[in-house]
Symmetry: C2
Subunit: 199 residues, 2 copies
């Protein structure tokens, strides 16, 4: 139990502890997305991962620590590599987001984080994760929008995938993603018009 507390580097940590941490983090994420936030308890994760509750409490004293471990286990999300075709880039990015919702149950992760947001540290972690997840689409849309239209466009395109999954447990078809991107890109004209009239 003392292993891993005195020396934090991977080289210094006992390999058994490293494996335990990885096993439990993956299991915690699995329990979170398949059984919901309520099931994320030391007893349930210990049972599924095959470790003792004592081991879990020693590494993750609180349920909040288990949640943080689960979030760490998500890893990096795949993103669309930007090209010079904004429409194709946005469709690609949203299609990858949809795939991550299906494969990694990001809707469950998002709603679990929202449930825990009354814990201040959790709100900070959530904001940081969501800011990072939105960074690519923000970068793409910044080439076409600014101000309120930029913020609206980001929420709207995130929403076309996130809303159906959170509200109905379903993801949008390709044609709905394409329609959303086309509607947003039609809205570009106003920024140009505004720029032309206010040089």
């Amino acid at each position: 139990m003392a292993a891993g507390t005195g020396r934090k580097s991977a080289a210094g940590e006992d390999s058994r502890v490293i494996r335990t941490r990885a096993d439990v983090a993956r299991t915690a994420l699995d329990v979170l997305v398949t059984e919901g936030s309520d099931a994320l308890t030391h007893a349930r994760v210990a049972e599924v991962a095959g470790y003792s509750k004592t081991t879990l409490y020693s590494h993750w004293p609180s349920r909040f620590d288990l949640l943080k471990a689960a979030l760490d286990a998500i890893g990096e999300l795949p993103h669309q590599e930007p090209t010079d075709d904004l429409r194709a880039d946005l469709i690609g990015e949203l299609t990858m987001f949809r795939q991550a919702v299906v494969d990694r149950h990001l809707d469950r992760v998002l709603s679990a984080m929202a449930q825990w947001a009354s814990v201040e540290t959790m709100a900070e972690i959530r904001d940081a994760l969501n800011t990072e997840a939105q960074r690519p689409i923000r970068g793409m849309l910044e080439t076409a929008f600014d101000g309120a239209r930029l913020e609206a466009a980001i929420s709207m395109l995130a929403g076309v995938v996130a809303c159906p999954s959170l509200m109905f447990g379903a993801v949008p078809d390709d044609d709905v993603i394409e329609a959303a991107v086309d509607i947003v890109l039609d809205g570009r004209k106003t920024k140009r018009a505004r720029r032309d009239s206010n040089p």
Copy 2:
């Protein structure tokens, strides 16, 4: 404890039972939105509402029953009365949705329902509630869109309020709501163009 089980009509039910049910449902909703889905237990609701755990278990045998009681306590959401000004109607409807997120913590309700969606009955209740909540904006947008564009527009406008609240615990400013409506209404042209070319 037997009261209210034999006779279901409001007239037949003991007034004390009716009051208990209403008190506990309101408290369950309050606990859900202020403390999160995990806190929605018989022990916690009994403590806050000032009833015994025995009373709670007799009326709501499972935590799922407590959740259903909490959802019932939300009541009807306020909606924009449609006029002949689609832009104003959409902005009005989204502004009311934003107010309900602030006043009734609908973001917490939505994420709690998503956490419980692995329970099949809960998924059905969630789908029904969300379909009902979206009905007015769907009705407004049906006057301007159909097919994939209609589904995209609904998710996008729901998303402009829901996404910031679920992802960052914040609601959009007026100018972001207006920008979202303007972006979506710019997208109307394509439906007209399609109709003109396919009479």
